[in-house]
């Protein structure tokens, strides 16, 4: 009897411990093991940091050659004072891991197609797509290139070792909360992971192409109508580098002949598709940024000024991590990308620099002509080539791994050959991001960090291949410059705009624009340089290029910079926070002019009055932007019902640019495209404008809660990286619009706002929508979010020595060699 009850109790105890150690599934969600999660020794309670007080402990890091001091300010920015660059980067790695380890892990998992290892089968599709796109292949190739310079590699390894020094001293009690929630352990870092971080950014910035959409449109509409609908150059554009005669004497490399039109690969285009493609937003451009530099002639102080606000998907923790790196040779401050060493956007004692994305299309699809049904051999001119197979082993939590075989051709991988109903099924992807680089991209930023003037800037940029960026520059000796820097294929006319025939080697890329012939500008007479993702150059530039370019922010910023005199840092703030939309200023007058106000009732006339009084600013407290935005979307959609018909037949198709549509509203109102296909009559722009107005009004009648101020009406969210709502900020209602310089949209916007004045004492201000710490239990997790939403900035603490004192500094820690 006593034995029985003892055994029973023992069994019950063991079961209880086992129960609290296992991962249960409730309503399809995986819970962490309750015991390890709830206990106060190693569970989530430990992740809630004290709300007051700081404690910066000294430590040791193996591999340091000398002690390194780190001063923290009240934004938790680490100011690293080291004797040499390798030590500084080692500590940068250590500290970045301390605050952003989960972000570094998730970003690299996503880029490597390894999400399913921790998130299970639901991410298998994404992982497959990532692998098939060749992201890991790209990272491996990047590392091959970086290994060409042993000094470079040593610095990369120092950073990586620093990260690992942090990971090695972690006990499970100290794991970031996401590791505890998802029940997995952090793993070691490596230079390959740093490569994955850069490739993840490249994926965000330069993976877009519309080859199949354009091919379908060309086939459907024919050449003349295609040119009518999709002109590549907006006459109102202010290109980044205007033509000042600088190209006329260039010895230019001969472009290849234009490839045959897509019509010859009609079989591909008529292939059945799987799903109906989604309806695109008006104006495809989403990621973007602004930057500019003013020369002393335009500023009050007579010193140069530089501004940059990169626009990215907004998340918590933030994309960027602020840091200062001081060595005997240089002193630089700015934002870094967690997982890569150095400072990406920032300034030092003599210069400042920033980046915006270049809209050039550097991804081309080529149809592969198989020689047999096994699709292992393909025709290339007279030769028959074999594909190279790459097996991707995708681990899945709790299940056996999934093996995916990807075919690689001389052009690149076939991302979609496993989807029988994908029009790109037999197409290989040629993407600059796959290429082995000549120089280390990371060296570019390390060189910018230590540069002293214009010549250093030019040397630093040479060889930066992807993702192509518009690098803006200013120095304290008065120079300003901008360069459209990247690896751009030398294209035939319109080459790459459509899917190309991969059975002819003539259609491949043969060479890239030489480094000294990428567009650039230094000290223009007008006193400023700027970019906002618009066209790099006008059509007179001697090389062909294609891509997606922005049409509104750039014109507005040009106007403001052109008309500014005696600018100060406050003027720069006003430019960055400008909610004025050039698109609204172009479209609304045309729409109001065409609107038949006699056909409106009183409520509708009230709306018109609201719109007529509007100043085209997407301010949070205004109603007019909400009304306009709904009307404009409706009007654009109604015009392009022809595209909808193609899309509903499950073919992806290009929609015309917003600026082109506005042109038609202004001066081509009888265009056949204003006809609504469903109706027997022939409509003109007037009818479309009226009908869409009525549709908009009807929508607000049925959804009265949506008819509210702009800030309230749009669902702005800064989401946690793992989409955990509790760790996200869903309560903010900022103004702004993607067509305004303050390019805030639903979950995208200025991920860093920085402005610098290159006086003897460099003055800088900055803010980003998040915080330095990636721990939701830290008071520095999202402490800058509200300031960012309100348009406020912080003074950046650019320290001279580790012994500097001011009221913003919280403490000092010293890392010693082990």
């Amino acid at each position: 009897m006593r034995l029985f009850r003892f055994l029973f109790s023992l069994a019950a105890t063991i079961c209880l411990v086992w129960f609290f150690s296992s991962s249960l599934s409730v309503k399809g969600k995986d819970l962490p093991p309750l015991g390890s999660f709830f206990n106060p020794f190693s569970g989530f309670w430990k992740n809630g940091e004290p709300s007051t007080g700081v404690n910066f402990e000294d430590g040791t890091i193996p591999g340091l050659s000398a002690p390194v001091k780190v001063v923290y300010d009240d934004l938790l920015v680490p100011h690293i004072f080291a004797e040499n660059v390798a030590d500084a980067l080692r500590v940068q790695g250590y500290i970045t891991a301390q605050y952003r380890l989960f972000q570094m892990d998730l970003t690299t998992r996503k880029a490597a197609g390894r999400l399913s290892e921790v998130l299970g089968e639901r991410t298998l599709k994404i992982d497959r797509e990532t692998r098939r796109k060749g992201m890991m292949f790209a990272a491996e190739n990047a590392l091959l290139g970086w290994k060409k310079s042993p000094e470079s590699l040593a610095l990369l390894e120092a950073y990586s070792d620093g990260v690992n020094a942090w990971i090695d001293q972690l006990s499970p009690a100290d794991y970031p909360i996401e590791f505890k929630l998802l029940n997995y352990k952090p793993e070691h870092w490596s230079p390959l992971k740093s490569a994955l971080v850069t490739k993840a950014m490249a994926q965000t910035l330069c993976s877009r192409e519309y080859d199949i959409e354009s091919s379908n449109a060309l086939q459907y509409f024919g050449r003349d109508t295609f040119d009518y609908l999709y002109p590549q150059w907006n006459p109102k554009q202010q290109p980044i580098i205007p033509d000042t005669g600088q190209w006329k004497d260039w010895h230019v490399l001969q472009p290849p002949p234009a490839p045959e039109a897509a019509g010859t690969i009609g079989a591909l285009l008529n292939a059945p598709n799987g799903e109906m493609p989604e309806k695109p937003e008006m104006d495809r451009y989403s990621v973007g940024s602004n930057n500019w530099a003013l020369s002393g002639q335009k500023t009050k102080s007579g010193k140069t000024m530089l501004s940059n606000d990169p626009h990215l998907n907004l998340s918590l923790p933030s994309v960027w991590f602020q840091v200062q790196i001081h060595t005997p040779e240089s002193n630089a401050y700015g934002v870094s990308l967690p997982g890569t060493p150095g400072i990406v956007i920032g300034f030092n004692e003599n210069t400042a620099w920033g980046v915006t994305n270049v809209g050039q299309d550097v991804s081309d699809y080529y149809t592969i002509k198989w020689t047999d049904a096994t699709r292992m051999k393909y025709q290339l001119d007279e030769e028959v080539r074999s594909v190279v197979l790459r097996v991707e082993d995708i681990g899945i939590k709790g299940k056996p791994s999934f093996l995916d075989t990807v075919r690689y051709t001389v052009f690149g991988p076939l991302p979609f050959d496993y989807e029988a109903d994908n029009p790109l099924r037999d197409c290989a992807l040629r993407w600059t991001v796959h290429d082995v680089p000549d120089f280390s991209t990371l060296d570019v930023f390390l060189a910018l960090n230590t540069g002293k003037g214009y010549n250093d800037y030019k040397t630093a940029l040479k060889g930066f291949d992807s993702p192509a960026q518009n690098f803006v520059f200013a120095s304290n000796t008065g120079d300003i410059a901008i360069q459209v820097q990247g690896k751009f294929p030398i294209r035939g006319k319109e080459q790459g705009r459509f899917v190309q025939d991969g059975s002819k080697w003539a259609n491949a890329w043969h060479g890239f624009i030489p480094w000294d012939q990428v567009p650039g500008m230094k000290n223009p007479g007008r006193g400023f340089v700027f970019s906002a993702n618009q066209h790099s150059v006008p059509p007179s530039y001697p090389y062909n290029y294609i891509g997606d370019f922005e049409d509104y922010r750039s014109r507005r910023i040009f106007d403001r910079l052109n008309n500014t005199h005696a600018a100060t840092l406050d003027s720069m703030k006003a430019f960055q926070l400008d909610n004025f939309s050039q698109r609204a200023a172009d479209a609304l007058p045309a729409m109001l002019f065409l609107l038949d106000k006699k056909a409106l009732n009183d409520a509708e006339k009230q709306m018109v009055a609201e719109l007529e009084a509007w100043d085209y600013r997407y301010d949070a407290n205004k109603l007019a932007p909400t009304i306009f935005d709904a009307w404009c979307d409706s009007c654009y959609a109604l015009t392009w019902d022809e595209m909808d018909i193609i899309r509903k037949a499950k073919k992806p198709v290009l929609y015309p640019d917003g600026w082109r549509w506005i042109e038609m509203l202004q001066s081509d109102t009888a265009s056949i495209f204003f006809d609504i296909k469903e109706t027997p009559g022939r409509e003109t722009a007037t009818d479309v404008v009226l009908e869409s107005f009525k549709q908009m009004e009807d929508y607000f009648q049925k959804n009265p809660s949506k008819k509210t101020n702009w800030g309230e009406s749009r669902p702005f969210a800064i989401k946690h990286l793992a989409l955990i709502d509790a760790f996200s900020r869903l309560d903010l209602k900022p103004g702004g619009h993607k067509t305004a310089p303050n390019a805030v949209s639903n979950s995208n916007g200025p991920s860093w706002r920085m402005m610098v004045e290159l006086d003897k004492e460099v003055k800088a201000k900055g803010v980003f929508p998040g915080g330095q710490s990636g721990n939701p239990g830290s008071r520095w997790y999202d402490n800058m979010v509200e300031s960012w939403a309100k348009g406020e900035y912080f003074d950046l603490q650019f320290l001279k020595t580790a012994e500097d004192t001011n009221e913003h500094l919280l403490g000092l820690q010293t890392f010693s060699p082990k």
Partner: protein
Amino acid sequence: MKNFFVSTLLIFALGNLCHFGLPWWGIVPIAFVVAFLFPQSGFGAFTAGFLAGLLLWGVNAILLNAANGGDFAGKIGQIFQGLSSTQLLYATGFMGGLLAAFGALTGQWAKDLTVKQLEKDYYQRRRRSGKYY
């Protein structure tokens, strides 16, 4: 009765060794050993264990939560379908209590196994007549 308080105190005190490297379920073997060394009734052992575990996990969690100001627990509560930080504290205490309770009960019943049957009967008779051992 004395053993009840001693057990509770000892399990609580030794349980804090979990701060220094013992696994989170360390309270289970600790409760087992303490209950084994300080015998009482099964019910007493279970209750002492429960109380000690409740306090061990609960107080430690309360201290961490208070230093943080309660914000973080609020966020975690949201993940668990909208529990409040107080409810999370109760859940934490309850888990600790349950673990220690069963550990102690098993220890007590293990102890009972080692005592010869006659002696056990003797003890029982003595207890029922109102005297403690």
